[in-house]
């Protein structure tokens, strides 16, 4: 087992009067894809946003690459090498695709080789390079959302439901892009409701329930055990496919 690049210990997060995360313990190994699974509303998105610093952890510790980042502001976490693809995509609709990508490379100019890799993964972005991002289709916006996080080298990718609400053809494009990212040795914490994608990509899995991690193990183990899936998530991957 490789050394975790990200380690959450007893992380608790409140949103207004709601106690959402109730002591999350999670380790994300370097160079692997860790799936964060669970029913709706169990705290998966809040976990990602707490790692990113959008929500502040009330208790517990977040360590990234050996450093305690619990008290760091969001921009500092981003500059430390954490890339985040939010569920709502968060693209800048008034700016062009090009401007979105340039902004995403916050630490320096956009490298041509990296840009070519983005175009290879998402060809429509080349076509609509000078178009306003607000005019893209839903799938293209999601492509841009993931492309932005690929605009520069990240040490960890937090990706929240990248295939949600997309047509099957676009889901395949997304899955292929994520596979390529994985093949390049990226460390990824991925929230994904599409079990086929989750099974294909995930090395390990952590299942959440009621603001806590209730199971961790190999993705293959979870994928092979329908009873375990039923118990942890209320449905099996086989029926959900």
């Amino acid at each position: 087992m490789s050394e975790p690049i990200l380690q959450l210990t007893g992380v608790e997060t409140d949103i207004a009067q709601y106690h959402i995360l109730q002591g999350v313990d999670l380790a994300v190994p370097a160079g692997q894809v860790t799936m964060l699974l669970g029913r709706n509303g169990v705290g998966k998105t809040t976990t990602l946003k707490t790692i990113m610093g959008h929500w502040r952890a009330r208790a517990g510790a977040i360590r990234f690459a050996g450093e305690d980042i619990t008290a760091l502001p969001t921009p500092a976490r981003a500059r430390a090498g954490i890339g985040f693809v939010p569920e709502d995509m968060g693209i800048f609709t008034d700016l062009t695709v090009e401007e979105n990508m340039i902004l995403a490379a916050a630490s320096g100019p956009l490298e041509p080789a990296r840009l070519e890799a983005v175009f290879a993964a998402f060809p429509p972005l080349r076509t609509f390079w000078k178009s306003e991002a607000g005019n893209l289709s839903g799938g293209q916006k999601q492509m841009l959302s993931i492309a932005r996080v690929m605009a520069e080298e990240r040490r960890l990718y937090l990706i929240d439901e990248p295939t949600k609400g997309l047509a099957p053809a676009i889901v395949s494009t997304m899955a292929r892009a994520l596979r390529e990212l994985k093949a390049a040795g990226a460390s990824i914490l991925l929230v994904e409701q599409n079990f086929a994608v989750a099974r294909a990509l995930g090395d390990s899995a952590a299942v959440m329930d009621d603001g806590r991690i209730v199971w961790t193990g190999a993705m293959a183990e979870l994928a092979a055990d329908a009873a375990l899936q039923e118990r942890l998530m209320g449905l099996s991957m086989e029926t959900a496919r």
């Binding site: 990113m52 610093g53 959008h54 502001p73 969001t74 921009p75 981003a78 500059r79 985040f84 939010p86 968060g90 693209i91 800048f92 609709t93 008034d94 700016l95 401007e99 340039i102 902004l103 995403a104 916050a106 630490s107 932005r148």
Partner: protein
Amino acid sequence: MLNTLLSGDRPRSLVLTALLLGVLISLAFAPFLFPGVRSLETAATICIFILLVASYDLLLGYTGIVSFAHTMFFGLGAYGVALASTHVGRGWGALALGTLAGALAAAVLALVIGLFSLRVRAIFFAMITLAVASAVAVLVSQLYQLTGGEDGLTYRIPRELTPAFRLGEVFGVRITGKILNYYLIFFCCLALFLLLLRVVNSPFGRVLQAVRENDFRAEAIGYRVVYYRITATCLSAAVAALAGSLYAIWLRYVGPDTTLSFEIMLDILLMVVIGGMGTMYGAVLGAVIFVLAQNYLQNLMGVAADAATGLPLLPELLDPNRWLLWLGVLFILSVYYFPAGIVGRLRAGR
């Protein structure tokens, strides 16, 4: 060349290009095309308000920050020139000193307000600017030994900028210091407007737009949102103060009503909304339409009221004293039909 001058931000509409060219030519040759004191007064006011509204657009349209203190910064610049001219004495040095001091004071005050309010939420900035602007207006009114109170200050500027200075005739128009004063204002406003255009089209400007659209996302990419908001606020305040200094040089008088009143703040808001937020060119059209309406709507209505004599109700409605009512109607109609402002509508090609 032109593309560089406009920082690559072309009007992107034929009609808009024609309108902007029309405004530029009219303002550039105003003393010759529209001779007379009143028209020159209107042209200078338009130049100054284009700059003032553009600086506000940097804040509201590009950064998404609502401020009610823009006239305060405008006033700081104006009072800077007035106080320097009063205490240092007539001269170019006093104008330069007052202008620099006003811009610096505005930037520092914007920094302090920003540090206190923008760290939390942009909406607090609006509330604090409202409070500070009201406090400064009261302070200026109370410190009458220094500021002249409600009466304001009248002062002397270099003779070369006054009507007493004469240079001869060009195309039948007598060239006086007032016309030189006008061109000082025109070129300063043009240069500062182009500078603002450069700022909003720079990488810094793109980050401002990103912050306006989704500040959480901008932070998640690694941009310190507070830093960008405060920098934009300081820059906007400094440019507003420079516009105020130019206004003070033009008027040779400053008072709370001409530079600090909340009415001017509302006018700026209307001009930005009518012209189109986040476009810069909207400031040009908004200021031109609004200042022309302020100056000539009454005359137009007088003519219309005379023409409608004998008809029921209409002469009453068109009475020149009701010009504000019609300005309000024009504003409502423009917001209804041009929700993205005139520039937004023209660029959409509808």
